[in-house]
């Protein structure tokens, strides 16, 4: 079958002063009808820019300067705006990563889908309404009539993404461009959306250009794969070939960095408990006047867990499961309503403010977002030395110690003089780790420390964490939504759902022989699990 969409040596120039002259250089590949082509790469590889270039939706200052984009034989690189408007939506449609920001918050979902028809066709209102309901039914939104009348914030993330897909498929486009459509979703929702896209694509014969950073997703959905790095295509071919016999070293590196699901050989754990969480609850009440019409959210419900000395306890769960709230309760960033948090014999939940401040040197936290968790107005060295200074170390000594910590986490001690924005995401996360370790804590709480990082960087940070915990005899509470990451680093794992721990135990048992239905559902939803398992079998 001939290609519907062909990119011929496409080049896109970035404005002067950007980190490289070209966003895309000499990118060529094609998408045929009824196939899914996955464009894979890490952040900065130019994969999203490729999608934007095809749709001619480039940011200001970014210019498509060479090459052709052939869509049904027409060159879109030369087409004028009027021609592009006719192509967008009707010929080629796009779905985005974050459905909340891609939908207009002030208009109902049904309205926004209907708009596709009022722009591109001359259907009358009742016909449009019926068509919208059909579409919502097609993307399997429960109760389509209700969903059509709902505003975006009234739907869950998965339902919003379904609505986006309904909108994209409204006019039966020849090509669907999906830019990381499942990255912001929970793993179980992700599995459903991937299945939906695959199913719709099969039925309608649409050509799909699917952009992702996750090789698990690639294994799940791709017919063909295009691997990108620094704005160039380094390798392309059928999915089976790329996944099982990658030729380019970068592809091999990326595939090797995908974390495996089976745990490494279990480590010996001591019986001594360093941190025990006993019946902790946290409830939020908001809205309502004098208790009427108030909404009550049980963020954490009666959670009890124990962390043996030197062990790593993983807390896994989807968004809204209460895992981050629990982490913040342990550190008293949020005051729990009830329960005890006993660290080395001392109940943190009952400490007054000043004693809790003193206690922070025994328990520290690493945050999720490497960009938001560092004060942009302080030098990296200052950030690491701050904790020591707060606890009474003189400035000069604290800064000297900060330099040692930089070396410990694998950063150049000379870079202590630089500001956070001069570091990459992975380096920033190392600064965050150095800051937490500066006080020589007994327990480290890590809240999704690697989920904002590219896979290759993720693997490096996990290795670093594993090294440091033996070197410094750290006990770690590791919070993550990614079961593959949990399997890599945790000794014990607790699965949380709706504020409760549904299952807990050694990682090999929980992942190998899950008892609770929810744990099983989570494990079954991991993208590319067969591929990962196959690779494990091959290398074993």
């Amino acid at each position: 079958m001939s290609a519907i969409l062909t990119l011929e040596s496409l080049s896109v120039t970035l404005p002067p002063g950007a980190d490289r002259p070209h966003a895309l250089e000499d990118v060529s590949f094609s998408v045929k009808a009824n196939e899914i082509v996955c464009v894979v790469g890490e952040s900065g590889s130019g994969k999203s820019m490729t999608a934007n270039a095809v749709m001619r939706l480039l940011p200001a200052g970014v210019v498509l300067d060479r090459g052709r984009v052939l869509f049904e034989g027409r060159d879109l690189a030369q087409a004028d705006e009027a021609a592009m408007r006719a192509v967008r939506g009707a010929g080629m449609a796009m779905i985005f990563q974050e459905p909340m920001t891609a939908l207009n918050p002030l208009r109902t979902v049904g309205d926004q889908i209907g708009e596709m028809f009022s722009i591109h066709t001359d259907m009358d209102r009742p016909a449009i309404r019926a068509r919208v309901l059909d579409l919502l039914d097609e993307v399997r939104i429960p109760e389509p009539a209700q969903a059509a009348k709902a505003y975006p914030h009234e739907l869950s993330g998965g339902q919003r993404q379904r609505a986006m897909i309904a909108m994209a498929l409204a006019l039966d486009p020849k090509v669907l461009i999906a830019d990381e459509p499942t990255t912001a979703l929970d793993v179980t929702t992700q599995a459903q959306i991937l299945a939906l896209i695959r199913d719709l694509q099969r039925r309608k014969g649409t050509a799909v250009m699917f952009i992702t950073h996750d090789f698990g997703v690639v294994a799940e959905i791709a017919d063909r794969v295009v691997v990108m790095q620094h704005g160039r295509v380094v390798e392309q071919g059928p999915a089976g070939d790329i996944l099982n016999r990658p030729q380019h070293p970068y592809t091999r590196e990326l595939i090797a960095a995908v974390p495996r699901l089976t745990a490494p050989a279990p480590r010996k754990l001591t019986d001594a408990t360093i941190l025990s969480i006993d019946g902790v609850s946290k409830t939020y009440r908001n809205g309502g006047f004098l208790g009427r019409g108030a909404r009550v959210t049980h963020a954490v419900r009666n959670v009890s867990l124990a962390l043996p000395k030197g062990a790593t306890l993983g807390i896994v769960g989807e968004s809204g499961s209460g895992k981050s709230t629990l982490a913040r309760c342990i550190l008293r960033l949020i005051d729990p309503d009830s329960g005890a948090i006993v660290l080395d014999g001392k109940d943190l939940a009952k400490l007054p403010g000043s004693e809790m401040r003193a206690e922070t040197k025994n328990i520290q936290m690493v945050f999720q977002d490497p960009f938001a968790s560092l004060n942009p107005r302080r030098k990296a060295g200052d950030l690491v030395a701050q904790g020591l200074m707060v606890h009474g170390t003189p400035r000069a000594a604290a800064l000297a110690r900060a330099r040692e910590l930089f070396a410990l986490v694998g950063l150049d001690p000379a870079s202590a003089e630089r500001y956070p924005h001069e570091f990459s995401g992975g380096q920033r996360q190392r600064i965050g780790l150095a800051r937490a370790l500066a006080l020589e804590p007994k327990v480290l709480i890590a809240d999704e420390p690697v989920s904002a990082l590219d896979v290759s960087v993720q693997a490096q940070v996990l290795t670093l964490l594993a090294r440091l915990r033996t070197q410094l005899d750290l006990s770690i509470v590791f919070i993550t939504h990614d079961l593959r990451v949990a399997a890599q680093i945790c000794d014990l794992v607790a699965v949380m759902k709706d504020g409760e721990v549904v299952e807990t135990g050694p990682v090999a048992r929980v992942f190998g022989h899950p008892q609770h239905a929810y744990t099983r559902a989570l494990l079954a939803s991991i993208p590319g699990r067969d591929f990962i398992a196959g690779r494990q079998a091959a290398s074993a």
């Binding site: 809790m356 206690e359 922070t360 040197k361 936290m365 945050f367 004060n375 701050q386 707060v390 606890h391």
Partner: protein, 276 residues
């Protein structure tokens, strides 16, 4: 450094800066160009500008040199502008920071107080303060500062509300920092740029408020201020209009300079908002 470069690339901002430097030069050179007391009698009253080479901006209805008063007046206006702005920004930041950081009841109490101040027209409040505490230059300046803090307080509060739950603030809390150090050491430096930009508006308004007081002859009569000259010129407005017009022009130029600089700072600090 980028901010400075961006600032210098905008022509209005540069014009504002030049005008401000000119006013500053006037203030600094006043004592050297006009060694005599600017409030002492210099010659025949109501001489038109350029009529007498000794008084190139003419004399007012008491026979005082207008040029000398304009130069000395620059000192007063800038001083009042700076001190009153400082007073209002400091009060505003403290109240806004506490309200924004602690939230809840603290926020409610402080914000109701702020609203109480905001609902009163600030010029009326200023008149009351001056009537009660007298009108020497120090009380006038402080009174102007005291009536202009609500807007900076609201601005600071809004910044704090968005910053207080950022991860870097939580991270600093997990290091065991005290609240005051969190507020003033960690959050405030990040909240400051918009407040500094707004300070230019406060300064322009402060200069205008002082002139308005002087026009009503409620400002300190013992200093040479632009407002005093305008107030004096009021009596001869229809015949010798230049007595009021010249200091009026000086106020216009200064306020324009300050607000151009403020706009320039805003664009330099927030380059992405420019052109919206």
């Amino acid at each position: 450094m980028d901010a400075i470069k961006r600032y210098l690339r905008s022509p209005p901002a540069v014009i504002g800066l030049v005008l401000l430097v000119v006013v500053l030069a006037m203030a600094l050179s006043a004592g050297w160009l006009f060694p005599r007391d600017p409030l002492s009698l210099a010659g025949r009253p109501l001489q038109w500008p350029m009529a007498n080479p000794r008084f190139w901006l003419g004399t007012d209805n008491s026979g005082r040199d207008i040029a000398a008063q304009i130069f000395y007046g620059a000192r007063i206006s800038l001083l009042i502008g700076l001190v009153a702005t400082l007073v209002s920004i400091v009060i505003g930041i403290v109240i806004g920071a506490l309200a924004g950081y602690y939230g809840g009841r603290t926020d409610t109490v402080l914000m109701r107080l702020t609203e109480a101040f905001q609902t009163l027209p600030n010029f009326l409040l200023l008149l009351v303060l001056v009537a009660v505490f007298g009108s020497n230059i120090a009380t006038v300046t402080i009174a102007i500062g005291v009536v202009s803090w609500p807007a900076p307080a609201r601005l600071t509060r809004a910044e704090f509300l968005s910053l207080r739950n950022r991860e870097f603030v939580q991270a600093a809390r997990t290091l065991g920092m005290r609240d005051l150090r969190l507020i003033f050491g960690e959050i405030l430096p990040n909240a400051l740029p918009p407040v500094i930009v707004y300070a230019s508006v406060v300064m322009a308004v402060a200069i205008l408020l002082e002139s308005a007081l002087a026009f009503l002859r409620l400002s300190d009569p013992n200093v040479a201020s632009w407002g005093n000259v305008i107030g004096l010129g009021r009596d001869v407005l229809r015949s010798e209009w230049y007595v009021s017009a010249i200091p009026g022009l000086a106020i216009l130029v200064t306020v324009l300079a300050v607000s151009l600089v403020g706009q320039g700072l805003n664009d330099a600090f927030n380059p992405r908002l420019k052109g919206r």
